[in-house]
C-alpha cells in the first residue's frame, strides 16, 4: 500500500506538470475520469501497470475534489450502498438479458478494432428505463476488455445570482448545454484529453455520456440535437450515450419528449441503438438472493419474491429496498415470519405474477410499484365477505331501510380505513375494480352488474378532474378524491349482492392502461414522423396529423413505391400493415 501511495505521489507530480503544460486548454474540455468503483475494483485485484497509473490519476482527481484519499483503502464492510458494493463483477452476475449484453460487447469489439479503418460505427446508443443496468453493463464490459471509460463530467457552474452580482468581475455564466457544446467541439478536434497521451501506452478508450444536458424549449432542443448529430458524425473515439426512457404517464412532459427527439435523431445519424428491457423478475430475485447470502441477512424467499415484483424491473431500486428492508428491528421478527397460511401461493396474471393475499403490514410500505400494496385491499373489496350468522341489528337506522336495500354488515373495517392503509390512489383503485369486478359477480346476476357499473361510472366522473393533472393535497381537492374512492369501493361492495363462492381469481392489471400506453406510443410515433418529413414546420395538432397528414403521406409513398422500387414487395407489405395499424388507432 505504501508503494502505491509513493507511486501516486510521484505521478501526481508528473501529472501536475503535464497539467500545467496544457493549462491553456480550458478545464471544462478535459473529461476527467470519475469512476471510483472501477478504481476500487482495480485496487482489490492486483492491478496491472496501466491500472496503477490510472488509479493514481484518480487519486489525484479525488484529492482535487476534496475526497479523502485513504477512504478508498480501508472502507469498512458496511459503509457502502449495496448498489455499489454488489455491483456486478462478472458477466454472470449481470442481470441484463444475455442477448443485449452480447450486442453491446460486439459493438465494443468492433469499434475498438483498429485494424480495419473506415466504416466503423462509432456511437452506441443505449436506452432503457431507470435502473435496468445500462451503465453497469458498459462499465463491466469495459473492465473485462481492459478499456478505460472516460465520462463527461460537467464542471460546477456559477449560480445565476452570483453571476448577476459579480457581473463586472468576469465570472461567466455558462449553461450545461453550452458546456456540452464546448466539450463536443473539443473532443472532435483533439480526441480525448492530453492525460491519456502522456501515459505513452495506447490503452483503448471509450467515452461515456450519461449526463446529457437538459434541453428546455424548442431552441435548446435543436441545439442539443445538432450537437449530438455532430458528435455522431465526426467523433473519432468510440462513444456510448445513455438515455433513460420514461415510459410512464409523464411522457407528456417536455423533458421526456426532448430526450425522445434526441434519441430518434441520434438513430437517424447512424448510431447503433440497443434498447434494454426491464429486468425480469427471476433475474432480480437471483441477484437479491446472492446479496442476502453474502450479507447473511434472513429474508424469506417470499419477501424477496415480493420485492422483486414490486420493483417493476428496476434492479437498482430492488437492491436499495433490500438494504432498507434487511435493517430489521427486533420487535418485528415475529410479525414477518408469520405470513398467513394458504395465502402465499402466487397467481399468474396475463403479464406479471400478482400477489393478492400477502401480509400487507410490512412490505407494502416499500417498493416503487404502488399497485402491489393495493392487492390486499382489492381482494377484500372484491370478495365482499359479510357476516352471515348471529347478525345483530344494532343500529336502529338499518332497520328503517327496505329489505331490498339492506345488506349484512361487512367483515372488515370501514372501507375508507382499508383504503388509506393500502396507500391507494383513487384513480388506480377505480381502474382495478372496473377491470376485475365482473369476475366476482355471480353468473346471471345482471342487476348486480348494472348496479356496480353505474356506481363505478359515477366514481369515474368524480375523479375526472383529477385524472389530467397531478392532484395536490389541498383540502378542496381532497373531497372529490375520497368521494370518488369511497363511491367506487362502496358501490362494488353494495352492488355485488351475491358474490361468487370464494374460489380464487386472478386480479388483473387494467387493460385500460395498456390502451392508454399504446395510444401514447402512437402519438409519439406520429410526432416523430412529423419531425422526419418536415424538419422546420410544426403541425401542432395531433388529430390533424392523424387524420390528414399521415394518410396523405402514406398515399403518396404508396403510389411512389411501385415505380421507384419495382421489386420490393416487402416494402409495400410493410406499408399496408402500417395502414391497418393506423386504422385501429383511429377507432379509439
Amino acid at each position: 500500500m505504501l508503494d502505491k501511495k509513493l507511486l501516486s505521489l510521484e505521478d501526481d507530480d508528473n501529472l501536475r506538470s503535464s497539467r500545467s503544460n496544457t493549462k491553456s486548454k480550458p478545464r471544462s474540455s478535459a473529461a476527467t475520469t470519475t469512476n471510483p468503483r472501477a478504481s476500487k475494483r482495480a485496487r482489490l485485484s492486483g492491478a496491472s501497470l496501466v491500472d496503477k497509473i490510472r488509479l493514481s490519476f484518480e487519486d489525484f482527481d479525488e484529492a482535487l475534489s476534496g475526497f479523502k484519499v485513504s477512504s478508498g483503502y480501508e472502507r469498512s464492510k458496511n459503509t457502502d450502498l449495496w448498489v455499489d458494493k454488489y455491483r456486478p463483477r462478472t458477466l454472470e452476475e449481470l442481470a441484463v438479458h444475455k442477448k443485449k449484453v452480447e450486442q453491446v460487447k460486439l459493438w465494443f469489439e468492433e469499434s475498438l478494432d483498429f485494424s480495419k479503418d473506415g466504416l466503423r460505427n462509432n456511437v452506441l446508443l443505449v436506452t432503457g428505463q431507470a435502473g435496468v443496468g445500462k451503465s453497469a453493463t458498459i462499465h463491466l464490459i469495459a473492465s473485462i476488455l481492459g478499456v478505460t471509460v472516460y465520462e463527461w463530467n460537467a464542471p460546477i457552474p456559477t449560480i445565476w445570482q452570483e453571476h448577476v452580482h459579480n457581473s463586472s468581475s468576469g465570472l461567466k455564466y455558462t449553461s450545461k448545454l453550452d458546456e456540452f457544446e464546448n466539450f463536443v467541439e473539443s473532443t472532435r478536434k483533439y480526441g480525448v484529453m492530453a492525460s491519456s497521451s502522456t501515459e505513452g501506452i495506447k490503452a483503448p478508450v471509450i467515452l461515456l455520456i450519461d449526463d446529457l444536458p437538459l434541453a428546455n424549449g424548442r431552441h435548446a432542443c435543436e441545439r442539443l440535437q445538432n450537437c449530438l448529430l455532430l458528435l455522431v458524425r465526426s467523433t473519432q473515439i468510440p462513444t456510448v450515450i445513455l438515455i433513460t426512457d420514461y415510459d410512464k404517464a409523464d411522457s407528456s412532459d417536455q423533458t421526456a419528449r426532448s430526450m425522445e427527439d434526441a434519441q430518434s435523431s441520434l438513430e437517424r445519424a447512424g448510431a447503433l441503438k440497443v434498447a434494454f428491457n426491464p429486468i425480469t423478475k427471476n433475474s432480480i430475485k437471483k441477484a437479491l438472493q446472492r446479496i442476502c447470502r453474502e450479507e447473511h441477512c434472513k429474508v424469506t424467499t417470499m419477501e424477496i419474491d415480493q420485492m422483486a415484483s414490486a420493483s417493476g424491473g428496476d434492479i437498482r431500486h430492488a437492491i436499495t429496498s433490500l438494504q432498507l428492508f434487511s435493517v430489521k428491528p427486533d420487535l418485528n421478527h415475529t410479525k414477518i415470519k408469520s405470513p398467513r397460511p394458504g395465502m402465499d401461493d402466487s397467481y399468474h396474471g396475463n403479464e406479471q405474477t400478482m400477489y393478492s393475499g400477502l401480509d400487507s403490514g410490512i412490505s407494502s410500505c416499500f417498493g416503487r410499484d404502488e399497485t402491489l400494496s393495493l392487492f390486499h385491499a382489492l381482494g377484500k373489496f372484491l370478495h365482499n365477505k359479510r357476516e352471515t350468522d348471529n347478525v345483530i341489528v344494532s343500529d336502529c337506522s338499518n332497520s328503517l331501510v327496505h329489505d331490498e336495500f339492506a345488506r349484512l354488515p361487512l367483515k372488515m373495517d370501514a372501507p375508507e380505513k382499508v383504503l388509506s392503509q393500502a396507500h391507494g390512489q383513487a384513480g388506480r383503485v377505480v381502474d382495478f375494480l372496473h377491470e376485475n369486478v365482473l369476475d366476482f359477480v355471480s353468473e346471471g346476476a345482471i342487476e348486480d352488474a348494472w348496479c356496480v357499473s353505474s356506481y363505478l361510472a359515477d366514481a369515474d366522473l368524480l375523479l375526472a378532474d383529477l385524472r389530467g393533472k397531478m392532484s395536490g393535497h389541498n383540502k378542496t381537492e381532497d373531497v372529490p378524491q375520497s368521494a370518488g374512492a369511497s363511491v367506487a369501493v362502496r358501490g362494488v361492495l353494495y352492488g355485488n349482492k351475491q358474490p361468487c363462492s370464494s374460489r380464487w381469481h386472478v386480479i388483473r392489471k387494467p387493460k385500460l392502461w395498456q390502451v392508454e400506453q399504446s395510444s401514447m406510443q402512437t402519438k409519439k410515433n406520429l410526432r416523430e414522423q412529423r419531425n422526419i418529413s418536415y424538419e422546420g414546420s410544426r403541425v401542432a395538432d395531433i388529430s390533424v396529423m392523424a387524420t390528414e397528414y399521415s394518410p396523405v403521406l402514406k398515399w403518396l409513398s404508396y403510389r411512389a413505391s411501385p415505380d421507384a422500387f419495382a421489386g420490393m414487395g416487402e416494402e409495400t407489405d410493410e406499408e399496408e400493415s402500417e395502414i391497418s395499424e393506423d386504422d385501429e388507432i383511429q377507432d379509439w
Binding site: L81, A130, H317, T320, S397, F405, A406, H473
Partner: protein, 334 residues
C-alpha cells in the same frame, strides 16, 4: 387580545410554535408508522443510511423523521455535515448543480459508517430539470454523501431518482396516536381542557399532527380553554355537531328542519365549499345503512363538483339535501 395572550405566554420562555417546541428530536419518539420508524431507528444506530424518499400526506412526521435521523447520525457534526433545503430555498437547476455538488465534494471528517446528508424537503416541488441535475450527483458521491427526500406524492419524483432511493411510505396518523401526543403537550403546557375539546381538535386535524398541534395552540392562546366551541371558533369550520344535526334530520325525514339548519350555517357566512367539506366528512363517519351512505357520498361528491365548477350557491346546497331526502325515501321501509 392577541397582544395580551402573547405577553402572558411569553413568561414561560419562548413563544415558539408548539409544532417546533414539541418536535421529537429522537427517532424513537416519533408517533405512528411504527414499521418505518423502527427501521430508521436501527439506521440511526448503525449508520450507513441508504438514499431515502419518504412520501406521505402532510403532518405525518416525514420531515421530523429525517431531521431526527440526521441529528442522531451526525451528532455534533450536524452543522457542517448536513445540507438542508426546502421549498422556500432556491432549488433551481443551477443551485442543484452548484450548491449541492459543492457540498457533496466538501470534506468533513466523520466516524466510519456516517455520511454527509443532504435533506431535500418537499422534493416534489422541485422542477424536473433540477431533479435531473441531481441524478448524477446522487450516484457519483454515494460514498460520501447520502440524500433524504421528503415529498407528498412520490410519483412527482422523476424515475431515475426513485430508482436510486429506497421508498418509505408514511400514512395518516390514527386518532389515538394524535390524542396521545396531544395529551403530552397539554400536560406540559398546563392547558385546561375538556375531553370534547380534544376530540374536536382531532376532528379538525384529520390525521395531520401538525394541524392538531397548531389548532391546539391557537385555541389555547385565543381562549385559554380548550372546549369544543372554542376549537371550532378558532378553526373557523362549520360546527360538526350542527352539520351532524342536519344529516340526522334528513335521515329522520325532517326536511324543513334540515333546511333550517343549513340556512343558519349559510347565514353565518361559511362558504359552500366549507360546508360541503364538513358535510362529507360527517357523512363518512356517520353510522347509517350501507346503501344510504353510498348514495349520500355520491350525491355529496357531485354537489362538491358543481360547487368547484363555480356554482357555489345556496340553492345547490338545498338541492343536495333534497337529493339526500329522495335517496332516503327510496330506501325507506314500507
Amino acid at each position: 387580545m392577541a397582544a395580551s395572550s402573547s405577553s402572558t405566554s411569553s413568561d414561560g420562555g419562548y413563544n415558539n410554535p408548539w409544532v417546533e417546541k414539541y418536535r421529537p428530536s429522537k427517532v424513537v419518539d416519533i408517533v405512528g408508522n411504527e414499521d418505518a420508524v423502527s427501521r430508521l431507528q436501527v439506521i440511526a444506530r448503525d449508520g450507513n443510511m441508504p438514499n431515502l424518499i419518504l412520501s406521505g400526506p402532510p403532518g405525518t412526521g416525514k420531515t421530523t423523521s429525517i431531521l431526527a435521523l440526521a441529528h442522531e447520525l451526525l451528532g455534533p457534526n450536524y452543522k457542517e455535515a448536513v445540507l438542508e433545503l426546502n421549498a422556500s430555498d432556491d432549488r433551481g437547476i443551477d443551485v442543484v448543480r452548484n450548491k449541492i455538488k459543492m457540498f457533496a465534494q466538501k470534506k468533513v471528517t466523520l466516524p466510519p459508517g456516517r455520511h454527509k446528508v443532504v435533506i431535500l424537503d418537499e422534493a416534489d416541488s422541485m422542477t424536473s430539470g433540477a431533479q435531473q441535475a441531481l441524478r448524477r450527483t446522487i450516484e457519483i458521491y454515494s460514498n460520501s454523501t447520502r440524500f433524504a427526500l421528503a415529498c407528498n406524492t412520490s410519483s412527482k419524483i422523476i424515475e431515475p431518482i426513485q430508482s436510486r432511493c429506497a421508498l418509505v411510505r408514511f400514512s395518516r396518523l390514527s386518532d389515538q396516536q394524535i390524542l396521545g401526543r396531544l395529551l403530552v403537550v397539554v400536560e406540559a403546557e398546563n392547558v385546561p381542557y375538556v375531553p370534547e375539546g380534544l376530540e374536536a381538535i382531532i376532528f379538525t386535524a384529520d390525521g395531520d399532527m401538525r394541524q392538531a398541534l397548531n389548532n391546539l395552540q391557537a385555541t389555547f392562546s385565543g381562549f385559554r380553554f380548550v372546549n369544543q366551541e372554542n376549537v371550532f371558533k378558532v378553526c373557523d369550520q362549520p360546527h360538526p355537531l350542527h352539520v351532524k344535526n342536519i344529516v340526522r334530520n334528513v335521515l329522520e325525514s325532517k326536511f324543513d328542519d334540515a333546511c333550517h339548519g343549513l340556512k343558519q350555517l349559510y347565514d353565518l357566512g361559511y362558504s359552500p365549499t366549507d360546508i360541503i367539506t364538513t358535510l362529507f366528512r360527517i357523512i363518512k363517519n356517520y353510522d347509517m345503512a350501507e346503501y344510504l351512505k353510498l348514495e349520500f357520498m355520491k350525491e355529496t361528491g357531485f354537489a362538491h363538483m358543481r360547487i368547484c365548477d363555480g356554482v357555489g350557491s345556496y340553492l345547490q346546497l338545498c338541492g343536495l339535501l333534497a337529493k339526500l331526502s329522495i335517496a332516503r325515501e327510496t330506501a325507506k321501509a314500507p
